[in-house]
Point group: C2
Chain length 433, copies 2
């Protein structure tokens, strides 16, 4: 058999699934490849977290505790459940209550409504899998988190962009689009409204308090033949540097049947542990757990116990404060550098975010920022600075994508690196004006 | 908005995706629920690993090393890549060579052909996602790993059972089925042949060396319009207690374009870390990484570094030996108890496995073992012992499922618990004869 002549014959072609074709080649792959191939480039593109704030001491303390005795050590090295460790889900009920400015009793959340996932990305993916058939519709902000656009594409769903302003997605525009769809007989395809509630990636904007309540109301009013869910991605919620703390969209869902809340420890603690979590409307819980069971039987029990121990040891809040202090300085560095280097370029504007990792910058209308643009080439090759082209962050047709935007991240670089990167980027912009 | 009257109105129905409907309610859920509701029951059903062998000391040593200094500590707490840490993939090339009885040079495997996943289950799921459209076919042994039947169902694929004997899946039967499909014009639906090569779950049988080579040859010969892949699930490979060590099916794929090899540390080290791995034919690598990127951006980098360190510290092989020594005693206990309690029941037969976690037992033809059977009720309720009904492990129509088989696991119980469980089970069987 080993000498079979067919071994040397050319391979028969691979036929992938429809879903694999839909999933092909996300822009993030191109960006990561650029970063690998050009290590000397100052990346204002990467949404990675600040290395210097990663919690080595906290992780050490938690692991020492969970592996201290043999009995407990074996427990944490054994399989967990698909839904995730009850100990961490319990701690998260208290944590969420704290973020909502309520006592756990007032909030009354059952830990059985929570699920633990591989970062919040897995929860976003699971939601898409259990809700969206090919051709189904998810309404998203314009701009929105570009990786999620890939997740939607990967299940063959359609993303429809809704206009935004300085308070986030416009609720009048959302309602108008839903009415239009209803008139066109297309409301039965709408399953989901996706909202990044705090310090949105890429715009840095938070959805205003009134719009949070309105989003739930609109989803309920247009839930006619079937329910329309709101998927609230609150990944950046805890990276708040100033400005008011706002209750989540989820807190406005008093019946608890409309909003899926997705959060993560990847930004506030450690992405290397891959622990995300969510609160799930009761009727979605079993389908999501069934699907997760199919995909991996549950996330790493060991890592869930590390996080639970960090909470129990009272080290989480202090760590988040440290992280925010570091990012606040970086955000201020980026805004100062924007003033310094871009302040006198006519037609350049940017958002001043109160949290998160991104500054969203608009260039004069005729300056395109895409991978093939003169600016991107000038920035990446000559000036050696990288950004995320804003057009990646838009759903819809070519005409619906603003071509003159850039997403600039202050997450990874030092304040000095941010300043240098912004200086180079401004030079690149001037060179193509 | 908060006073919206619709909050108290009955909820609008949820409309799940087709895929969610396909994924619904796996048998494993029923079994786990039974276990939770009846904690006093002796479970010979659970495929969990032996708690007492979990590597607390080894995990401590590895974590101490990776978190020893701040620099390295931050690296392991940062995002990894979607494909997984190169350091672990490198160690795995050596490890696989060792399992194949070759030097790494002889084997010549590129670590870039490997991917790290959340246990091997995620790899099985990813393969189904990127290869199988609804209605596509995967050929499986009869019996086979029942969780994988759920994974196939979850993407709407069809599993077709192939006859097995004491050497595993019959290659003449596999070839005959493929010919039948070709004649019927259905070969274009066949994408995958799934084989659990060592100490199969549930049968305990290993595929013979000749059949390993034949499986690759058959897959290649029937790859006409498109490639048919062999998915080799070698999850139990390292749990070998006696008998010969065999090169994998993958080792017979000299062109490296036909076999996907899936392995895991969940059985040999710790399931709580959720680290599985695979070797992927070149043309599937990008689609699988793209899909994994969509699903979770990559598995926990921290856990991958723990495993890499366990290898580097030279503690892996010794741990596997310890695990095998413990399971060998348990297997012998179960076989001795089978002789003792079932030896004189006419028509009862069982397989004597050389590794893995399972003894596959056949009862007289008329004794059904399913959840609704008199035996299952008598066992679970009266005798308080649990097993996995064999019929769950068959693809195909009702008539193709043998109703008189039981999967008995010796993984979790102590030798005394195994003996007691087998005694109870024999009493239950006698009571329904």
């Amino acid at each position: 058999m080993r000498g079979d002549s067919s071994v040397d014959a050319p391979s028969v072609p691979v036929r992938l699934s429809q879903r694999a074709e839909w999933t092909r080649k996300q822009a993030i792959g191109f960006l990561m490849q650029q970063a690998v191939e050009n290590p000397q480039v100052i990346s204002l593109a990467a949404g990675l977290v600040d290395r210097d704030t990663l919690p080595v001491e906290e992780a050490r303390g938690a692991v020492a505790e969970i592996l201290r005795d043999e009995e407990q050590g074996r427990d944490v090295l054994q399989y967990g459940t698909t839904q995730g460790a009850e100990r961490l889900r319990g701690a998260l009920v208290d944590h969420l209550a704290n973020l909502e400015g309520k006592s756990p009793q007032e909030m009354g959340l059952d830990p059985n409504r929570m699920i633990l996932t591989n970062g919040s990305q897995q929860l976003l993916s699971l939601i898409c899998q259990v809700l969206l058939d090919p051709g189904d519709i998810c309404l998203v902000a314009a701009p929105t988190y570009f990786v999620f656009l890939g997740t939607l594409a990967g299940v063959g769903a359609q993303a429809i962009p809704i206009e935004t302003d300085e308070d986030g997605m416009r609720m009048d525009a959302l309602e108008a689009e839903l009415k239009r769809m209803e008139s066109a007989g297309e409301l039965d395809r709408v399953k989901l409204i996706y909202l990044v509630s705090d310090f949105e990636n890429p715009s840095g904007i938070s959805l205003s308090a009134e719009r949070r309540a309105a989003a739930v109301d609109i989803a309920r009013r247009f839930s006619k033949e079937h329910r329309i869910f709101v998927l609230e991605d609150a990944a950046y919620r805890e990276l708040r540097y100033d400005g008011p703390e706002m209750p989540s969209i989820w807190s406005h869902d008093e019946a608890g049947d409309t909003v899926i809340l997705a959060q993560t420890f990847s930004k506030s603690f450690s992405p290397g542990l891959r622990v995300g979590y969510g609160v799930i409307p009761a009727e979605l819980l079993e389908p999501i757990c069934d699907r997760k069971g199919n995909e991996d039987f549950g996330s790493a029990h060991f890592n869930q116990q590390i996080l639970a121990t960090v909470f129990e040891q009272g080290r989480y809040a202090a760590h988040v404060e440290k992280v925010c202090a570091s990012y606040r300085v970086k955000r201020d560095s980026m805004l100062a550098a924007a003033d310094r280097y871009f302040g006198d370029i006519p037609g350049v504007r940017w958002v001043r975010p109160h949290g998160g990792l991104y500054v969203w910058m608009a260039l004069p209308e005729h300056i395109e920022t895409g991978f093939d643009s003169a600016l991107f080439q000038q920035a990446a090759k000559t000036e050696e600075v990288m950004y995320v082209p804003g057009e990646l962050c838009y759903a819809g047709s070519e005409e619906q994508r603003l071509k003159n935007r850039m997403r600039l991240s202050f997450g990874v670089q030092t304040p000095a690196g941010i300043d240098e990167g912004m200086k180079r980027l401004a030079r690149a912009v001037r060179s193509v004006l």
